[in-house]
Symmetry: C2
Subunit: 197 residues, 2 copies
């Protein structure tokens, strides 16, 4: 029985919408924004800070980021980023204990890797579909959508690697990976729902 | 309409069996061993040579392999490996033209990437299930099954990177990736069949 569904997703892939649809169809709780609010309440961090640093690495340059990370561990005090990660992890574990739910992003696949009642999903899509989607949802900016996406991808990748030691989007880390551009958002939803029934 | 299904798979994941089941259920042709025989007939290479070099890189050390590759292109003559890859690619393109089929391995996902009627599948599994499977199928050897698998993975990865420029097993390269250890071989078959109907 799959009580917990974790959805990892590329920005602009529709992963969040798929997660929401799945939760509605199965009658599961849905944690995305709700998770950010809970972390905010418990940690004292502002929701905007959590949105920005709760699943994105800080620096574009991963080498610099790794050096900073390595140095950090030589200190007794945890960095703010690590404190945020730890609070977030605890809340994710508690939510999973509470009962059936869909959790979007935030390394939940890794944090809950030892539970047997999870379905770990990764949603990706081709660049053109993602670019169209973010322009529809968030509007145009001066920066080309492809460039915005490439930056987001890089930051998520580094964040994920840093906290999990894994490669983001590598099929072996998930139970199922779906390309929403090729299959369509609704088909992705249906396949996940079916696996949980 | 998905006329062509390409199955990329980790060794020991059951990907070949899934491909065969899918082909039977859909009434599609199934190319795995048949493909090797056709390549043998046309190229003059022995089937054993094709099995060994048609999707595995030669060297364990990828740096050495890359250096060898880089040097190779400065010569006018193609290496035997490249000749094999080219013959194999042509045959895969021809098979796809012939009609509905399932093609296992051999970079078919990359070779047929521009066709719109393909479903590109990746099958993976956890190490314990894969180890169990290869011992059941091919028996014990002096080398631990985990070590045999790690070597195979590395060789396929390097081969795939060399000929496609892509990362093997990266979700974004496929339409759907399924973990047969978590979902079960039969569920994987059913999901693929359903997507093609």
């Amino acid at each position: 029985m799959k009580n917990i569904i974790t959805i990892s997703r590329e920005f602009g892939s529709g992963g969040r919408s798929i997660g929401k649809q799945v939760a509605e169809k199965l009658g599961y709780a849905f944690y995305d924004r709700e998770l950010v609010d809970e972390v905010a309440k418990r940690s004292g961090f502002a929701p905007e800070y959590i949105e920005e640093h709760g699943e994105y690495a800080n620096a574009r340059n991963s080498l610099l980021f790794y050096l900073a990370t390595a140095e950090r561990y030589s200190h007794d005090n945890l960095s703010m980023h690590d404190q945020l990660y730890i609070t977030q992890s605890k809340i994710i574990e508690e939510l999973a204990e509470k009962g059936k739910c869909v959790i979007v992003g935030r390394c939940a696949d890794y944090i809950l890797r030892d539970r047997k009642d999870c379905l770990h999903v990764f949603i990706c899509s081709d660049m053109a579909s993602r670019a169209r989607r973010i322009v529809e949802r968030y509007g145009q900016t001066q920066k080309a959508p492809e460039k915005r996406l490439a930056e987001k991808d890089q930051k998520r990748k580094v964040y994920y690697k840093n906290y999990t030691g894994r490669v983001w989007g590598q099929a072996q880390n998930y139970d199922i990976c779906l390309n929403s551009g090729a299959l369509g958002v609704d088909t992705c939803t249906d396949m996940i729902v079916q696996l949980c029934k």
